[in-house]
Symmetry: none
Subunit: 401 residues, 2 copies
């Protein structure tokens, strides 16, 4: 990623950078010729900021590629998402504030329902209450196999994070979720020699879990997928010489920030307003703030165009709280696009706004996909945003004589 070269240019400064990530921000018009979610939203504060900013579009992974949340976030944090891979299991485990280590293999777990013949009847065990999940997780936590430790972290409803810790565990394992009902869970299979031991252990774990849960219908079985080891990611704070803090209420986004070595801040409540309040309270203690808004993506993925518009407007209304802190650099963008039209993540470049006293402002008084496509940042790899933000924060020295 060439970041060693960047690291050598870092100079100390007192400036502060705020990065507001509206998850899945980029959108599409519902009808050809119409407006996107962002273009539809009434965003007087973002529009006013846009006029004083440089606008552009970011490409998280590479052109045409629809990113998952992991790659999308790595990119906007400045890591090449094709170089650094973060498994979903790892994000899930880190999201529970679990301390993963280099000998750990994590996976996403579901409690599920099977019938007397062992065929799946519900992949989500009727979305059992989170409290029951905690009880059952404690039960699974009693499983002991050889020299391997297990950690079962309740997430919510039927979901949990599964971590096994021990020497010589590979993570090239197939998932046990057949993604359909009426069939038995799949056996876990190793995809390379290094993962054979792990496969055997996961297999034993699942058998013991099935025995322990036998009379716990509807949660009488488990499914595991997204097996992944803890990736070695250079520290964000070391890469950029920043004291960084993450403000996110959803597990996975807390996970990816933790992976980058950011300090996870405690948010009282779970609304965007609560997140901005956390930002205000911690403002003096850090140089860089990553603030994550989930609702834009949730609405995009469920096809709720209007909900996404409202979610954007909610963030717009909070922007004055941020600007009152006089940040030196503000980035507003997303980790990827999630158009309601597609009800999913998409490959579309993501609108991005970069504000600072030293930005060459485009004078475009609108924050929207088409406005951004006319901006002077151009269409750039998302991973270029951090160096540009660092420059605008006057935190990079001249390269070469």
């Amino acid at each position: 990623m060439g970041n060693n070269f960047l690291q050598e240019l870092i100079i100390p400064a007192q400036t502060k950078i705020a990065m507001i990530i509206m998850d899945g921000l980029g959108g599409l018009p519902l009808e050809p010729g119409g407006k996107t979610e962002l273009e539809t939203a009434h965003t007087p504060n973002l529009d006013a900021l846009a006029e004083k900013s440089a606008l552009g579009l970011t490409v998280p992974v590479s052109p045409g590629i629809t990113p998952g949340s992991g790659p999308g976030h790595l990119a906007i944090f400045g890591y090449d998402p094709l170089h650094y891979e973060v498994g979903r299991g790892v994000l899930e485990a880190l999201g529970t504030d679990f301390d993963m280590g280099p000998n750990d293999v994590a996976a996403r777990g579901n409690f599920c329902s099977i019938d007397a013949s062992g065929l799946l009847t519900d992949r989500r065990a009727g979305r059992i209450p989170t409290e029951l999940n905690r009880e059952l997780a404690a039960l699974l936590q009693t499983i002991k196999i050889d020299c391997v430790e297990f950690f079962i972290q309740t997430i919510k409803e039927h979901r949990f994070a599964f971590v096994m810790r021990g020497p010589g565990l590979g993570d090239a394992l197939t998932e046990t979720d057949p993604q359909t009902i009426g069939v038995p869970p799949l056996p876990v299979r190793p995809l390379n020699l290094d993962s054979e031991k792990a496969a055997l252990i996961v297999d034993q774990f699942i058998q013991q879990a099935r025995t322990l849960l036998a009379n716990k219908h509807p949660a009488n079985m488990i499914l595991l997928r997204g097996f992944a080891k803890y990736p070695k990611l250079p520290s964000f704070n070391e890469l950029y010489g920043l004291r960084s803090a993450a403000i996110a209420v959803n597990g996975m986004y807390r996970g990816v920030a933790k992976l980058a070595g950011m300090q996870l801040l405690k948010v009282e409540g779970d609304t965007p307003a609560d997140e901005f309040t956390t930002l205000e309270k911690s403002w003096k203690d850090y140089d860089f703030f990553y603030l994550h808004i989930k609702k834009t993506d949730t609405c995009g993925e469920s096809g709720d165009f209007t909900g996404k518009v409202r979610a954007i407007e909610e963030v717009d209304a909070l922007m004055p709280c941020l600007m009152a802190l006089h940040p030196d650099v503000v980035i507003v963008t997303g980790d990827h696009s999630s158009p309601a039209l597609l009800k999913s993540h998409s490959w579309h470049p993501v609108p991005a706004l970069l504000f600072s006293r030293y930005v060459r402002a485009d004078g475009i008084p609108e924050f929207g996909e088409r406005a951004c496509s006319r901006g002077s940042l151009g269409v750039i790899p998302a991973k270029d945003m951090m160096p540009i933000a660092m420059a605008n924060a006057l935190r990079l020295a001249k390269y070469g004589a």
Copy 2:
């Protein structure tokens, strides 16, 4: 840099390319919402040319990176500045028209003043007259150590270029300038094993210099910094199949052109008008002209917004001299930005104009940062400009069948 692939496509042609580099051209408005230096300047000739040109913004090194003059120039000449490094000492030495070779290590030298206890009292020796510098340089030239040759080239006032020539000399050496007064000059230290011999020799040289200069106060000592070997740079003429000429009055810019293997033309006088006169006179003898304007950068670095505006207007007024020669391709850009607001080089992309009979003209009748951000060249690496210029000069054959 992938230039081998380009080299294979080169076809002979009679076309001529002129590259006008206004050093530090890119700027910023002094007040938010205002105009940059280039946008403020009255530039009827450049505006008329812009309308018939493709406009864009060039990124010299990579996004967010503020380039020194060396990397900025290498990039616009088509060399990847992250691959080719040119030390300041080398640029200084080459700027004196000194013929550096592969066994040479160069440095920037200052005459300075020390008191009886050897503490620095003036890092620039009261900016002694250039004539005195010449006398003292001749004195230093008498120093002989082992099998090493020394070359001391007067630049002006207190400044000189230092070159040592001999086998086995590394350039990983610390500078002797403590950048402050009241302390002694620093000893030179080797940063790797290959540079230990060079460190010993520099140390002996400095001791002998101190003895020779003992009664020459205020110039009774020297400081050396920016040690660097001659980099191996592929020849510009071979890369592009061009007979190239450089028109620059300042040492360092002559240096970098020489490094690329361009023919340095003698300029009678030192104004932009003198440079354009040189261009006219040599027009028939070369295919490619690099013409460097220093004043835009000098004004930018000293915070002189109006001076930079005037410097741009001075170039604008000279553009008809160039256009009267009917160049096939004209590039007008900078090696980096130097906004008066920042009083320094900056990371901002550089406005660029590319004119030819075959360019897809944007029809934007203005040469300025925001006009260029709307241009069809987009925001591109500076090193891409030369291939585009070559194409527009009809000097590149088709790639592939």
